[in-house]
């Protein structure tokens, strides 16, 4: 969630009231934003740090926060944004060249006339662009904004795409001209801009905007030209917006003009620009300021809110959330509603319903749980089984631990003296080597837990019942979890009989008797388990056995292994004392 810093005194002045911290906190709470911090006493002028929901692009600046709260408080009507054409009726024209489709095909723009900037407004304008770039525009990859002093430029403009060598201009805050290739190298050193370079670096052509004199406006999404840079003295602002996402292109245009047209000579007016882009059917005038007209069902709103409001009452609530609405003339239930250009977050009547609920006050809604459902509780079968084993192990005097599911490749394989069996799910983008794969065994976690607890008295007896993960090509997710039970004994002697005893105990509790007589085993008539010495590189030779489970009428399956860990394994996990472990798959008991 973005956090916006606003001047506290200026905001309270805009809201017409000096709030106490608690009062403002309360207002934020009711509206659904969050006062994160008040820097009074730490910096001058004091700032309020306000957390904004990620879909409220109309509150990413001081102007938007003040306007939305003022409308919510009923201190201000929602501004009516309108287009203002030049007196001669001749719109500025921008021609979009088809080559732009290779790199960044969508273009939008607008003109704000007679803007009165001061330091605070100027900073807010820059900061809003930055917030939009970071959030909605996904680090400029989807949308990029450029702003220009229109007086330094001459229309009509062209939006083109050219090989980098052919693009040459002095970028923002630089006096030296360079070509785009040089520029990409130059900005590699710029901590802010370097992250945007990959968006176009390897493209054959780079996007570029020119005026009638071939003066560069900007090379989106990287940098504006120094020539047309806006200053505190700038009066007429040209905003260029380029995008790979058409919807977000217009949202960004709407937000920028809605927030800053209030400073225009004639407030809330925007001068449109004619875009000529026939190759992709995007020729039009931008921006389109008409609100989105839709309908919302009053019974839907009432039913979810548990209220019985009239349509007029609902309209009054929606007005506080910037919507303009009125009872429909053609229906008893519907409201006709105009959603302003600022409210791009409204997608469905559910969003309008939520706005009505916020305006009413979530905490004022009648609280009554009208459930008529009746089902029967049930525990997940694998969890029931796991709980039996957990309780039996704890009753036998073992302590349950909860290591992590992710581990390093070495911990899961090399440190257990095992070769990679290509069963593990691997992660693409871990931040540390601690998390490379999903464990295929519970042992690494148990051994790490012992390592971290070496100060604890010995013997240590720990266990875990939890899932490991393995690849499985047959399934949709190409992998599955397997519920395992594992235990480790760590002490001055090996504890081999101890883990063996724990195995016997758990098996007994799972109604699985020891099978020792070969004839019964052969007949497959008994349900039970038996163990058999095996070779396994994780364990000390001669002190390791496989565990087999035989279900009546079926052939025996290997479900686990136990033994004394190989001294090399102990060394890998930095364990000075002998350790015996037990690990088995519980799924066969389902």
């Amino acid at each position: 969630m973005p956090t916006i810093s606003v001047d506290k005194h200026a905001l309270y002045k805009a809201l017409g009231k000096e709030y106490t911290r608690d009062e403002f906190d309360e207002l934020c709470f009711e509206f659904g934003i969050e006062l994160d911090d008040d820097t009074t006493g730490q910096e001058e002028p004091p700032q309020l740090k306000i957390e904004i929901p990620a879909n409220r692009y109309d509150m990413l600046c001081f102007e938007g926060i003040a306007m939305n709260l003022n409308v919510f408080l009923g201190r201000q009507a929602m501004p009516q944004y309108r287009l203002s054409r030049p007196k001669d009726g001749k719109l500025l024209e921008v021609t979009v060249k088809p080559e732009t489709q290779q790199v960044r095909q969508y273009f939008s723009c607008a003109i704000l006339r007679g803007v009165k900037f001061d330091e605070a407004r100027y900073q807010s304008f820059i900061s809003l662009q930055d917030k939009l770039h970071q959030n909605l525009a996904r680090q400029r990859s989807l949308v990029a904004i450029g702003t220009h002093d229109l007086d330094t430029l001459k229309g009509p403009f062209t939006y083109e795409a050219l090989p980098p060598e052919q693009i040459k201009f002095a970028p923002l805050n630089q006096t030296k001209e360079m070509n785009a290739k040089e520029m990409m190298e130059f900005f590699e050193k710029d901590l802010q801009l370097r992250k945007y370079l990959p968006i176009i670096r390897d493209k054959p052509v780079y996007p570029i905007i020119y005026d009638a004199n071939r003066t560069v406006l900007s090379m989106p999404p990287i940098i504006n030209s120094n020539h047309s840079k806006i200053t505190l003295k700038t009066r007429d602002v040209f905003i260029d917006i380029t995008a790979t996402d058409k919807t977000k292109l217009e949202i960004v245009n709407h937000i920028l003009v809605a927030m800053f047209s209030m400073y225009c000579a004639e407030p809330f007016t925007i001068e449109p620009v004619k875009i000529i882009s026939p190759h992709n059917n995007e020729s039009r005038e931008t921006p389109d300021l008409s609100p989105r007209a839709t309908t919302v069902s009053s019974s839907f709103i009432n039913s979810i809110c548990g209220l019985t409001l009239s349509r007029d009452e609902i309209s009054a609530l929606l007005t506080k959330m910037c919507h303009s609405s009125r009872p429909s003339k053609t229906s008893d239930d519907l409201l006709d509603i105009d959603i302003p250009i600022t409210r791009a977050d409204v997608l469905h009547q559910a969003d309008i319903m939520e706005d009505a609920a916020i305006a009413y006050g979530f905490n004022n809604l009648p609280r009554h749980f009208p459930s008529v459902s009746h089902g029967v509780a049930a525990a997940l079968p694998i969890n029931k089984l796991a709980d039996i084993v957990r309780l039996e192990a704890a009753m036998a005097g073992w302590t349950e631990v909860m290591p992590l599911i992710l581990c390093s490749h070495d911990e899961n394989y090399a440190w257990l003296n095992k070769a990679d069996d290509n069963k593990a799910v691997r992660l693409q983008n871990p931040k540390t080597a601690e998390y490379q794969i999903v464990r295929t065994s519970l042992l690494p976690g148990l051994l790490k837990t012992i390592r971290e607890n070496r100060k604890h008295a010995v013997p240590m007896k720990i266990f875990e019942v939890s899932d490991i993960g393995v690849k499985d090509e047959k399934l949709e997710r190409r992998s599955r979890n397997v519920r395992h039970f594992a235990a480790a004994w760590y002490g001055k002697s090996s504890g081999f009989e101890q883990v063996h005893g724990l195995l016997d105990r758990v098996m007994l509790m799972l109604r699985s008797a020891v099978i020792t007589r070969d004839d019964e085993l052969k007949k497959g008539e008994m349900t039970g388990y038996f163990i058999e010495e095996v070779e396994d590189s994780t364990y000390l030779a001669g002190h390791v056995a496989a565990i087999y489970l035989q279900l009546k009428g079926q052939s025996a399956v290997k479900i686990g292994i136990f033994g004394i860990l190989h001294p090399k394994v102990l060394k890998h996990f930095d364990l000075p004392f002998p350790t015996s472990t037990l690990e088995l798959n519980l799924e066969n008991f389902m």
Binding site: F369, A378, R480
Partner: protein, 534 residues
């Protein structure tokens, strides 16, 4: 430790000397007696230990006496033995009749000559005669020596005022002495009887328990260590949450599936493909296996759900037969609601990338499984309640409050006619079970719920409102592509298992609660979980 078998005498001495016997003998003759006079040479600690052994058996009683005593310094002792310096000088002069001053140090020690001469003059025992000394007194009384002899026997001056003067002269010093006044106790005996440490089967059998002399039990010590096993604190809290859910007829969802597809984890939840949660910075993507198959039924999950829902079916009033789920249509409807808008939504209107739907991720929330269960519900839409508590994964930078893994508690209620206030009412009941009675709800944003509410509870200990969970009603854009009817509304709510546990136990670092760095001692000593009590 089991008691030793049979009555055994309790050894009451260490080494060669049996002090307890000496004390008993002394008391037989002198009742009461003072230890410092009876056993002046014995160290106080030994006396105390012996007395305690006897006193614990009520054989003796004693009072402790703290006092200050006066002892002689080495010089003081010498004076007590040989006489004062002035006495020595007088004696030497008297013996010679007339003694040259120069010769005096040869007759008496140099120190005595120096100090004693002056004192002997003052006392008028001797006088000067030219270069020599001659006696005046025929006989003298050596008061200093007599006083020091008194102190040596009585450890005090007859007149306490004298102490200061003698301390100044470095002839005496004071010491703290702990002494005991010992008398016979109610169970006095001249010998310690044979004692037994424990009641045994043999004693019951031969009746000796009736006369046996039991060794007193030390009620101040802890009992024997039980060497017991222990369940993990997080799992204990988890179990309490499960019980709450079961009491409200929730069915536990099949969450045994760490890996899920972009479709189930994000797309089906109406999380747009450009949402920051889908960034590499936030989500663990899987490199191997490379991608998922198309969305379809999960036989493992379905088998578990069939088994669990069998009982609910007998209560179901629905007569409609289950319809077959069309996963391909579901996938294309999900795409439509993102890309072009559908089901009354204008959608996000962006180019939907099929490759994103089959990217495998480590699930970032168990809501991926809730989505599966809700879609499955569309085969036979009806009221239902599901919950899960299981591990989820976030590609977080690890710190005191963030781990790459944690547990999510999630509840889902599907029913007709649900209201937003109903969710608040339900959550109030839910959190009441955790001892949190005061709730407030803050409007919030979540891509798959609308309305969305953050749940705040008043924490009396911290004296502030703390966020304790998230909740909302699932969006139509999520539910309608599943094929659920419009009037079947669905609540969703969730919280982490770790956060309430950390608040409850005052754990400030999540790594002390989950993972291999957790202290086994903490697990072993962690009290039973009673969410509604403490």
């Amino acid at each position: 430790m089991p008691g030793q078998r049979g009555p055994v005498p309790v050894p009451l001495h260490n080494g060669s000397r049996d002090l307890t016997l000496d004390i008993l003998e002394a008391l037989e003759e002198n009742d009461p007696f003072q230890t410092q006079s009876q056993f002046p040479e014995t160290p106080q600690a030994e006396i105390k230990a012996a007395l305690d052994r006897l006193a614990s058996r009520s054989m003796v009683e004693y009072d402790t006496q703290d006092r200050e005593i006066v002892v002689l310094t080495a010089e003081g002792q010498q004076i007590a033995d040989e006489g004062s310096h002035e006495y020595k000088v007088w004696k030497a002069v008297k013996a010679s009749g007339k003694l040259s001053i120069k010769e005096l140090p040869q007759k008496v020690a140099a120190e005595s000559a120096k100090v004693g001469q002056g004192n002997a003059f003052k006392l008028k025992w001797i006088k000067k005669d030219g270069d020599s000394l001659v006696p005046i007194a025929d006989s003298v009384q050596d008061v200093t020596r007599e006083l020091l002899e008194h102190v040596a026997t009585n450890a005090a001056f007859p007149d306490p005022k004298q102490l200061k003067d003698y301390q100044k002269r470095k002839l005496v010093a004071t010491q703290k002495q702990i002494a005991y006044k010992v008398r016979k106790g109610p169970r006095w005996a001249k010998e310690i009887p044979v004692e037994v440490t424990d009641l045994t089967a043999e004693m019951l059998e031969d009746g000796s328990w009736q006369t046996a002399n039991f060794k007193p039990y030390n009620f101040k010590a802890l009992g024997a260590n039980q060497n017991s096993g222990a369940l993990h604190p997080l799992n204990k809290v988890r179990e309490e949450f499960r019980k709450i859910f079961f009491n409200w007829d929730f069915i536990e969802m099949p969450t045994a599936r760490f890996v899920d597809s972009g479709f189930w984890n994000f797309d089906a939840l109406f999380v747009p493909q450009q949402h920051p949660a889908r960034d590499l910075q936030d989500t663990f993507y899987v490199s191997d296996p490379p991608s998922s198959g198309p969305p379809g039924p999960d036989p493992i999950a379905d088998a578990a759900l069939d088994e669990m829902e069998a009982d609910s079916a007998t209560f179901s009033t629905s007569t409609s037969k289950s319809s077959k789920l069309d996963y391909a249509k579901y996938a294309s409807d999900v795409r439509a609601v993102h890309e072009t808008g559908a089901f009354g939504s204008i959608g996000y209107r962006y180019p939907y990338n099929e490759a994103e739907t089959t990217r495998l991720v480590l699930r970032t929330h168990t809501t991926a499984v809730s989505t599966y269960c809700l879609h499955r519900l569309a085969a036979n839409p009806r009221p239902a309640r599901y919950f899960s508590i299981d591990r989820v994964f976030r590609n977080e930078t690890v710190d005191a409050t963030h781990l790459a893994e944690f547990h999510q508690i999630e509840g889902v209620i599907a029913d007709y006619g649900l209201t937003l206030g109903g969710l608040m009412d339900f959550l109030a009941s839910f959190f009441k079970k955790l001892g949190i009675t005061n709730l407030r709800f803050k409007p919030a944003y979540n891509p798959y719920t609308e309305p969305s509410m953050e749940v705040f509870g008043f924490h009396a200990g911290l004296d502030k409102w703390v966020e304790i969970g998230n909740s909302g009603m699932f969006r139509p854009e999520m539910l309608l592509p599943m094929g659920l009817p419009e009037d079947l509304r669905v609540y969703g709510f969730g919280l982490s298992l770790e956060r309430p546990t950390m608040i409850k136990y005052g754990v400030s670092n999540i790594r002390e609660l989950l993972g291999h760095k957790v202290d086994l001692g903490f697990i072993e000593s962690n009290a039973a979980v009673r969410l509604d009590k403490d």
